[in-house]
């Protein structure tokens, strides 16, 4: 949207991922500029989540480079990537159901570079999601789906990420709650966090994103300014259900 882009904070170059002999990603390349919301959209199994898993270090690409802040992070252990400033709130919310809300948040701060900011981050998380504060001593497994998603985001923020990866934050949630989650994603972005958002809910995701990348069966079909993608007839037909 802005005419002059900030520097590139994350960039994938020709990344291919294999699960056994099945290729999950084919030469995927894209750049994420600092301060943007970039969304990966596409059908189930198109390779969006695989892309996030590769970035987070959960699967190792067979070929290609993933550069984060100018350094190739292919082969760096997952926990180390978090401490460099890239954190993922995983799909299916992925919180520790056997731990309390506060304990989940505390573990989110494991790799945080600035230990002094711990309390401030905790307070900020509770400010974003007051429900979590009320339930801080409750087991995370007793939270509702929406609250669990909020916890997943609040916990990821505890690591003070520069880039936040969100995998399907709207999955299985009621429409009003999805709206609330998307508002909060925008707030987090405004506070300076770059966001890479994976969504099946392409329409809503493209509405809040600066840049959109459309995946189809493991390849990037097209990418561009989110507003342009929203206007494109081809995209509307194929992905937005028009």
């Amino acid at each position: 949207m802005t005419p002059v882009k900030n520097e590139i904070v994350l960039s994938l170059k020709d990344v291919s991922v294999f699960y056994g002999i099945i290729q999950g990603l084919h030469n995927v390349s894209f750049d994420v500029h600092k301060g943007d919301i970039v969304t990966l959209v596409g059908a189930n199994g198109a390779g969006k989540s695989t892309t996030l898993r590769a970035i987070s270090g959960l699967v190792k690409p067979k070929t290609g480079q993933i550069n984060f802040k100018g350094q190739n992070i292919v082969g760096v252990p997952a926990h180390e990537i978090v401490s460099r400033g890239l954190c993922q709130a995983p799909e299916g919310r992925g919180i520790f159901l056997n731990l309390s809300v506060a304990e989940n948040m505390d573990l989110g701060a494991w790799a945080a570079p600035d230990k002094e900011a711990y309390q401030a981050n905790m307070d900020q998380g509770f400010q974003l999601f007051p429900r979590l504060k009320e339930r801080r001593n409750q087991l995370a497994g007793t939270l509702s789906g929406g609250e669990q998603q909020m916890l997943a985001i609040a916990r990821a923020l505890m690591s003070q990420p520069e880039v936040l990866l969100l995998d399907e934050p709207s999955l299985g949630l009621a429409p009003q709650i999805i709206e609330k989650i998307f508002e909060i994603i925008m707030d987090i972005n405004k506070s300076g966090v770059t966001i890479l958002l994976v969504e099946q809910n392409a329409l809503q995701a493209l509405q809040i994103a600066h840049h959109g990348i459309v995946f189809e069966t493991g390849v990037i079909k097209t990418q561009g300014i989110a507003a342009d993608l929203l206007r494109s007839d081809e995209i509307r037909k194929a992905y937005l259900g028009d």
């Binding site: 959960l58 926990h79 978090v82 993922q88 520790f96 573990l107 790799a111």
Partner: protein
């Protein structure tokens, strides 16, 4: 009636040592879904560490504490004996923690992504390795354990048929076991390491996405579990004053049964199961059928697997496909 209390005391003391071993099983299972069959051997190595420490340095440690505590070095001092026992236990715990570290690093970590059956077979292999290299190094005949508490008198209550004898060693074993369990409880539920251990046992991948170094947490879990087994080894050595390299196998299996009884993966369950087993064994041998004592643990195991496979405190988990 006194008889009954006598069995309770014996059972609690025995249950305490089972619990220390069972905790290691249950913690490792919780974090890796692995039955670490080499755990009984770590307990054996703990007993031998205590044996050699006492044999070569025991007298000097007693002397040291007698001096520090300003009591005569005439060996009758309770305080010096207790402090020496604690010191030996600590030395054994540190040694076993190192054993646990190396076992995990060398035997289990390279198999982190292999099918679980490979890990299980490896665990049996590690167990046999320690049993037989133990026989090679320590010799296969039972060796007597120095008795630190020999000059301490037992407390007796009542007389004749109502005689109740409380052996100071039993009290020491029970108190030490409870103390270690309370410390462990604190670590698991009130420290960041414990939170991370629970997180890793919930899901390795998720934990690593939070920046938690899962391998280090797994190593720490092995070290903590092994150190508890080491403490148990020393205390059992002191109680049944003979040790030999195969001594870990039966108590190891029994502690495993206790862990399953309580619900494997559940720390409180392991303690509960161990005390139930300890008491049941004491009553069974007391009230007439001591020959069947060793079979009891396995009878309980079969029974619990038939009636409630998840154990007393375990939660039933559906297998993920």
């Amino acid at each position: 009636m006194a008889e009954f209390f006598q069995y309770v005391i014996n059972g609690l003391s025995q249950g305490g040592t089972y619990a220390l071993v069972a905790l290691g099983y249950t913690m490792v299972f919780g974090i890796l879904q692995l039955i670490n069959f080499a755990h009984g051997e770590v307990y054996m190595l703990g007993a031998f560490t205590g044996l050699y420490t006492l044999r070569f340095f025991g007298a000097r440690i007693v002397e040291f504490y007698s001096f520090v505590l300003h009591v005569g070095a005439d060996q009758t001092s309770t305080a010096a004996a207790v402090m020496t026992a604690i010191t030996v236990i600590l030395i054994s715990m540190v040694t076993c923690a190192l054993v646990g570290y190396f076992v995990e690093r060398l035997a289990y970590r390279p198999l982190r992504t292999s099918p679980r059956i490979n890990l299980l077979i490896t665990a049996v292999g590690v167990s046999l390795f320690f049993q037989y290299s133990g026989q090679l190094i320590f010799g296969s005949s039972p060796q007597p354990y120095p008795d630190l508490f020999e000059n301490l008198e037992s407390w007796t209550f009542g007389a004749d048929e109502n005689l109740l004898v409380i052996n100071p060693l039993q009290v020491f074993v029970f108190a030490t076991a409870i103390t270690l369990m309370l410390i462990l409880r604190h670590v698991i539920f009130h420290t960041r390491l414990g939170r991370a251990m629970r997180a890793v046992s919930f899901n390795h991948e998720l934990a690593s996405l939070m920046g938690i170094p899962t391998n280090r947490i797994i190593t720490a879990t092995f070290m903590i579990g092994s150190s508890l087994a080491g403490a148990a080894g020393v205390m059992v050595g002191m109680t049944y004053p003979k040790v030999e390299p195969l001594m870990g196998s039966l108590p190891g299996l029994k502690a495993f049964c206790a862990a399953v009884l309580g619900g494997i993966g559940n720390v409180t369950g392991a303690v509960l199961g161990s005390f139930i087993l300890g008491l049941a064994e004491a009553f069974l041998s007391g009230y007439g059928a001591p020959t069947y004592k060793d079979a009891l643990a396995f009878a309980i195991l079969i029974l619990i697997l038939l009636v409630k496979p998840s154990g007393l405190l375990g939660v039933h988990r559906t297998e993920k496909v």
